[in-house]
């Protein structure tokens, strides 16, 4: 597999290192000449100096035969352009972009970037796990189908407390496959199940309904 990594910062460095260890063919494109030398000396992978957003650099890098292009510079706009040009001009099958602003995920997806990774978002989801006042934790996002697995805790004063699920007005594109009570009891709920304070509800929801769900359980 031929992987082109655009951006030779820390993310690019460790990515290329890991891929190199897996015996994949890797090329890093980096603008800074000094950084290029350091990467090449340390990693022993192919490094090319140049602007990874320029079609001529991409051509020289053999973008046309790349299986995956990963854009991990520190600027979202650069990562977007790398992936768009790779897709449009060189027909690269899989493009992966690093995002700094998690809100850019929507536009990247709309513009055809296959995968986005946002460290801001990942760290945020870890913080959400430990802040009790935050009742919705993203467990998993299946972006291609617009569905998320989320976990919500029923807090004191929640409008859902003590009411059967069927009365809560849960959106059609959302189901509750599991309720965890007292930390160790797994309940497969049905319409008559009444939620209690402290219950952890695991929900499968469309991204559009996540906010509605939050309102129903939080008020």
């Amino acid at each position: 597999m031929y992987v082109i990594v655009v951006g030779g910062g820390k993310v690019g460095y460790y990515l290329a290192k890991s891929l190199g260890e897996e015996k994949q063919e890797v090329l890093i494109i980096e603008q800074d000449a000094q950084r290029c030398r350091a990467l090449s000396d340390e990693l022993g992978v192919n490094v090319m100096q140049g602007d990874g957003c320029e079609a001529s650099t991409m051509e020289e890098a053999g973008m046309g035969r790349a299986d995956v292009v990963v854009a991990v510079t520190g600027d979202d706009e650069d990562n977007l352009v790398v992936c768009q040009v790779a897709k449009q001009k060189f027909n690269v099958a899989r493009t992966v972009a690093r995002l700094n602003n998690p809100k850019n995920e929507k536009i990247f997806r709309k513009l055809g970037i296959d995968v986005t990774v946002s460290s801001t978002e990942l760290i945020l989801s870890q913080i959400e796990r430990v802040i009790p006042a935050q009742p919705l934790v993203h467990l998993l996002s299946l972006r291609n189908v617009g569905v998320s697995f989320v976990e919500l805790e029923v807090l004191p004063g929640s409008p859902a407390e003590g009411r059967p699920l069927r009365e809560l007005g849960i959106p059609d594109d959302c189901i509750f496959p599991l309720v965890i009570r007292g930390g160790d009891q797994a309940i497969i709920p049905y319409g008559d199940t009444e939620l209690q304070v402290g219950d952890h509800v695991v929900a499968v929801t469309s991204e559009a309904s996540a906010d509605t769900l939050r309102r129903i359980l939080r008020g």
């Binding site: 320029e54 706009e77 536009i107």
Partner: protein, 141 residues
């Protein structure tokens, strides 16, 4: 009409003043507050500090009511991203973006963006002027 201009360099500031003089409502976005000095002390439009590729910044600039967005920062990638956010996310009816790299311009034009490449335009004009054909021809965009 209401126009959002991303980038308050020479081009952006000049355009803002021209549009304002024509009676349009203008909001200029730039990440560097010092750049707003180019607009002059009598500038009657609005300015918003921030990067034009950030949805929240564009919302503050009134993108939802804008009839047009023009992206003219010195960064090609910033311009094409701002333009695509305006077009795809906010559905702004008229979006124009500056792309100085001719190759990138070609790609984004083929993707349906309305682009202006000052590099090609200037080179053509200078050639026409040198070869005695005058500079009055059609701008090559």
């Amino acid at each position: 009409m209401r126009v959002v201009i991303v980038g308050c360099g020479r081009v952006g500031a000049q355009l803002a003043r021209l549009l304002l003089a024509d009676g349009h409502q203008v909001t200029v976005v730039d990440k560097d507050s010092a750049s707003f000095g180019r607009l002059g002390s009598d500038f009657a439009g609005e300015v918003v500090l921030g990067t034009g590729i950030d949805e929240d910044v564009l919302l503050r600039a009134g993108i939802e009511e804008a009839a047009a967005l023009v992206a003219v920062t010195s960064g090609d990638n910033t311009n094409v991203m701002a333009a695509q956010v305006a077009k795809e996310i906010f559905g702004v009816p008229k979006v124009i973006c500056r792309v100085d790299d001719p190759l990138r311009e070609e790609i984004y034009r083929s993707l349906g963006l309305e682009t202006i490449c000052a590099t090609v335009w200037q080179a053509n004009h200078i050639r026409e002027s040198l070869e005695g054909r005058g500079a009055g021809g059609e701008p090559c965009m």
